[in-house]
C-alpha cells in the first residue's frame, strides 16, 4: 500500500507528459500530406526556348534554396546544372503554394554571354525529366509525400509572337449566357491568361467567369449577365505571352529594330460577332 501513492503520482505525471506529446503529434498529423499538384506548362512537348515553369503545391512550402530540390535530367540521366535562374528572390505566390522558376534568361536570349558560352539550356529532340524531390519541407514542417517527375521532349524554338489576328472567337448568342470560346493558335501562359484577357463593351469590362482549357490554348468566357445586342470586343494586354515568353508586344528575343513593328504597351482588340 505504501507504494500506491508513488505509483499513482508516476502514472499521473507520465499521462500528463504523454498527453502533451500526443497533442503535438495530433496537431502535426492533422496537416494533410503535401504534394506537387501540377507543373505548368502541362504539355510534354516544349519549345527549345521555354522560359518559365510554374510548380504548384497542395500546401504552403518553405522558401530558401529552391534549386536544391529541383533537378533536371537529360535522357542519359545526367543532372544538368546551370539551367534554372539562381534567383535571390524566389518567386512565390503570396500563399506560398506556387513557385515560378525561370530558365536562365541569359541562355534563352541569343547573344548573351551564357548563351554564347553554354548555348541554349535545352537540345532539340532530347528528352528531359524534371524532378521535384520529396525532401522539400512545407512551412508546417512536413516533407512532400513523394518525389514528382515531369517528362518532356524539346522541339524547335518558338520565335513567333502571338497575334490578335490568329485568335478565333466563337459568336455570341443574344439573350443567353452561352459562353464564348477563344482559341489561340498556340499554348499561352495559363496564369497570364487570367489577368490579361477580358471582354469589354463600350469600354467597360464585362463581369463573368473565365476558364482555361486545352493546357492554355483555349479559354471560355461565361458572362454574368445575358448577352445583348451590343458591341463586344476581346481585349488582350500586349504583355500576354506564349510559353516561350513571346508576347503580343513582340518576340522575347527581340532586336530594338524589330520592336517598332509591335505595339509595346496597352491592349489589342478584336470584335466579337453576334450570331
Amino acid at each position: 500500500m505504501k507504494y500506491n501513492y508513488w505509483f499513482i503520482l508516476v502514472i499521473i505525471i507520465l499521462v500528463g507528459c504523454k498527453k502533451n506529446k500526443h497533442q503535438v503529434q495530433a496537431s502535426i498529423s492533422n496537416v494533410p500530406d503535401a504534394l506537387v499538384t501540377a507543373v505548368y506548362p502541362e504539355q510534354n512537348i516544349l519549345p527549345e526556348n521555354i522560359l518559365k515553369f510554374y510548380i504548384q503545391f497542395s500546401e504552403p512550402m518553405r522558401e530558401g534554396d529552391f534549386l536544391k530540390h529541383i533537378q533536371l535530367l537529360d535522357s542519359k540521366g545526367t543532372n544538368l546544372k546551370g539551367v534554372f535562374f539562381d534567383n535571390l528572390y524566389e518567386l512565390w505566390t503570396t500563399d506560398h503554394k506556387q513557385l515560378t522558376i525561370l530558365v536562365d534568361p541569359g541562355r534563352v536570349k541569343t547573344g548573351l554571354r551564357q548563351n554564347i558560352k553554354q548555348g541554349r539550356a535545352f537540345t532539340v529532340d532530347e528528352n528531359y525529366t524534371l524532378t521535384i524531390d520529396k525532401t522539400w519541407k512545407t512551412i508546417s514542417g512536413k516533407y512532400l509525400s513523394k518525389t514528382y517527375t515531369k517528362k518532356f521532349t524539346i522541339k524547335e524554338e518558338d520565335v513567333e509572337p502571338p497575334s490578335i489576328k490568329d485568335v478565333v472567337i466563337s459568336k455570341i448568342k443574344v439573350d443567353s449566357k452561352t459562353p464564348i470560346i477563344l482559341t489561340f493558335n498556340e499554348v499561352m501562359d495559363v496564369f497570364q491568361l487570367k489577368y490579361y484577357v477580358r471582354v469589354i463593351s463600350n469600354n467597360t469590362i464585362l463581369k463573368g467567369k473565365f476558364k482555361v482549357f486545352d493546357k492554355g490554348k483555349t479559354m471560355q468566357f461565361t458572362p454574368e449577365n445575358r448577352w445583348k445586342e451590343d458591341n463586344y470586343q476581346l481585349q488582350i494586354d500586349v504583355r500576354l505571352e506564349d510559353i516561350a515568353a513571346n508576347s503580343f508586344a513582340g518576340k522575347f528575343d527581340q532586336a530594338i529594330s524589330e520592336a517598332k513593328n509591335f505595339q509595346q504597351k496597352g491592349y489589342v482588340y478584336k470584335k466579337i460577332s453576334i450570331e
Binding site: W6, L9, T94, G106, R113, Q114, Y195, I256
Partner: protein, 439 residues
C-alpha cells in the same frame, strides 16, 4: 545492525523523494517550455495579426532622411514609411561581433534557425542599431517582422503598427481581374529601393512577367508613382535587352548630374540618367562594365572610403552572391560613363569598369553602419551559425575569419611590418580580441 537498517531506510526515503522531485521538475519544465513557446508565439502572432492590415511582408529596408525607414512590402505591392525614433545605444560606434545571432533570435521568437528567412538589413542612421527584416514560420505561414539589435546582442521587435504612411504601388493587375476567379497568382517582388533627394527608386520583379519595372516615387507620398521602362544594352548582347529585371541600385552624382547605377543578373553595371526617368519613358542605359558572369548581385552601398594615405573618395560597394565584392570608386564610374560603354561581345571574363575586388563574400546582406564600419549578416561556412558582424571600411575583412602565420606563437613583426601589426591590432580590438593585441 539496527543502525545500518535505519540508515538504509533513510537512504531509501531520500532516493524516493529525489526521484519524485526529479519527475516533478521534468514535467514542470516540459510543460513550462511548451507554455513559454506557445505563449510567445501567440503574443507575437497576436501582435502581428493587427499588423497584417498594415504590412504583409518585409522584403527591402532603406533608411531615408530624418530616420524614416522605408519598407518594401512585396506581398502587398506597397512601400511603408515608418517614422522611427533613435533608441539610446551606449555601444554606438563599436563593432557588432554577434557570432551566434541565432540564439538571440531564438530567445526573442522561440523559433529554430531553419524557420527563419533573412530578407534585408539596414542600420539606423542615428542610433546605429541594426534593423533586420525577416520572415519566420508560425503554423503554416510566414510572419513578417523587423528585429532591432544592438552591439550587445539585445534584441526587440519593431512595432509594425507604429506611425507610418503607405503607398500602394500602382493598382495591381490582381485587383483588376479578381472577379475572374479567386486565383491570387500575380506578385510583384520588390528587389531594391533607394532614397535620393525626396524620391524613392524602386525596382521590381514579377513572378509572371519577365519584365523590368522601375518606379520613381515622391516622398512624402503623394499617391503617385511613375513607371519607367528602361532599356539597357548588354555588353555581349547583339540586341537590346529591354526586359531584364534590376537587382540592385543606387544613385550617384556624376559631374553634377544624378544617375542610377543599377546591376542586373550576370552582372552588368549600368548607368541610367535620372532626369530621363519620366512616366512611360523608354530610357537607354549605358553598360559601363561587367563584373562577372554566373553571379547574382546582392546589395549596393554608397559611402566615403579612404586609401592608405587617408585620402577620401566616394565609393559604391557591390556585394555578390557568387563572387567577392566589388569596390567601385565613383570617380571610376564617372570616367567609364564618359565613354560609349560596352556595346559588343568582348569575351567571357570581367571587363569594362569593375573597380577593385574586396574579400567580402558569403554575406547575405550588408548596410553602412557608421563612419568606420559596414555591417553584415551571414551564415558561418563551417557551423552554419547566423552572424551579425561588422567589417572595417577600406579593409573589408575580419581578422578573426583567418588564421595566418601572424598568429603563430612567437611570430615577430619586422620593422617594415609595423603598419601590418597596427592594422591587425586595430581589427583585434574592434572584434573584441584586445587580449590578442601585440605590443
Amino acid at each position: 545492525m539496527q543502525c545500518i537498517n535505519k540508515n538504509l531506510i533513510k537512504m531509501k526515503k531520500v532516493i524516493k523523494i529525489s526521484f519524485a522531485l526529479t519527475l516533478l521538475i521534468i514535467v514542470i519544465s516540459c510543460n513550462k517550455k511548451d507554455n513559454i513557446t506557445t505563449d510567445k508565439h501567440i503574443a507575437i502572432n497576436a501582435e502581428t495579426k493587427t499588423e497584417l492590415s498594415v504590412i504583409k511582408s518585409v522584403n527591402v529596408l532603406e533608411f531615408g532622411l530624418n530616420n524614416v525607414l522605408f519598407v518594401g512590402d512585396s506581398h502587398a505591392g506597397a512601400i511603408i514609411a515608418y517614422e522611427t525614433k533613435a533608441n539610446e545605444n551606449n555601444q554606438k560606434g563599436q563593432a557588432y561581433n554577434l557570432n551566434d545571432f541565432d540564439k538571440n533570435i531564438e530567445e526573442l521568437l522561440g523559433i529554430q534557425s531553419d524557420e527563419l528567412i533573412i530578407r534585408d538589413l539596414a542600420v539606423h542612421p542615428e542610433s546605429n542599431e541594426a534593423y533586420i527584416a525577416i520572415s519566420y514560420i508560425y503554423g503554416s505561414k510566414y510572419i513578417p517582422a523587423i528585429i532591432i539589435a544592438n552591439q550587445s546582442g539585445k534584441t526587440r521587435l519593431m512595432d509594425l503598427s507604429s506611425k507610418h504612411t503607405k503607398l500602394k504601388l500602382q493598382k495591381s493587375d490582381v485587383e483588376d481581374f479578381m472577379f475572374y476567379d479567386n486565383f491570387k497568382g500575380k506578385n510583384l517582388t520588390i528587389t531594391d529601393l533607394d532614397y535620393h533627394k525626396g524620391k524613392l527608386y524602386v525596382s521590381g520583379l514579377s513572378n509572371q512577367d519577365f519584365a523590368s519595372t522601375l518606379r520613381v516615387v515622391d516622398y512624402p507620398f503623394t499617391g503617385r508613382s511613375s513607371i519607367s521602362s528602361v532599356e539597357i544594352f548588354h555588353a555581349m548582347h547583339g540586341q537590346n535587352e529591354t526586359r531584364a529585371p534590376i537587382r540592385s541600385l543606387t544613385v550617384v552624382d556624376l559631374e553634377g548630374k544624378d544617375y542610377l547605377l543599377a546591376t542586373y543578373t550576370c552582372t552588368p553595371l549600368v548607368t541610367i540618367p535620372i532626369d530621363e526617368l519620366v512616366d512611360g519613358a523608354q530610357v537607354k542605359g549605358k553598360t559601363i562594365g561587367d563584373v562577372g558572369y554566373g553571379n547574382t548581385p546582392i546589395d549596393m552601398l554608397k559611402y566615403v572610403g579612404q586609401d592608405m594615405q587617408k585620402n577620401e573618395f566616394e565609393v559604391v560597394l557591390l556585394t555578390n552572391k557568387n563572387q567577392a565584392a566589388n569596390v567601385l570608386p565613383v570617380a571610376g564610374i564617372n570616367e567609364a560613363n564618359k565613354g560609349e560603354g560596352l556595346t559588343k561581345f568582348q569575351g567571357f571574363g570581367s571587363f569594362g569598369f569593375q573597380g577593385f575586388k574586396a574579400p567580402l563574400a558569403g554575406i547575405s546582406h550588408v548596410a553602412e553602419q557608421d563612419g568606420y564600419h559596414i555591417l553584415g549578416i551571414r551564415r558561418d561556412f563551417d557551423s552554419g551559425d547566423l552572424q551579425l558582424v561588422s567589417f572595417m571600411k577600406n579593409l573589408y575583412m575580419r581578422i578573426s575569419d583567418f588564421q595566418s602565420e601572424y598568429e603563430m606563437p612567437g611570430y615577430t613583426y619586422s620593422k617594415e611590418q609595423g603598419w601590418v601589426k597596427d592594422l591587425q591590432n586595430m581589427m583585434k580590438k574592434d572584434e573584441g580580441f584586445s587580449s590578442e593585441v601585440v605590443e
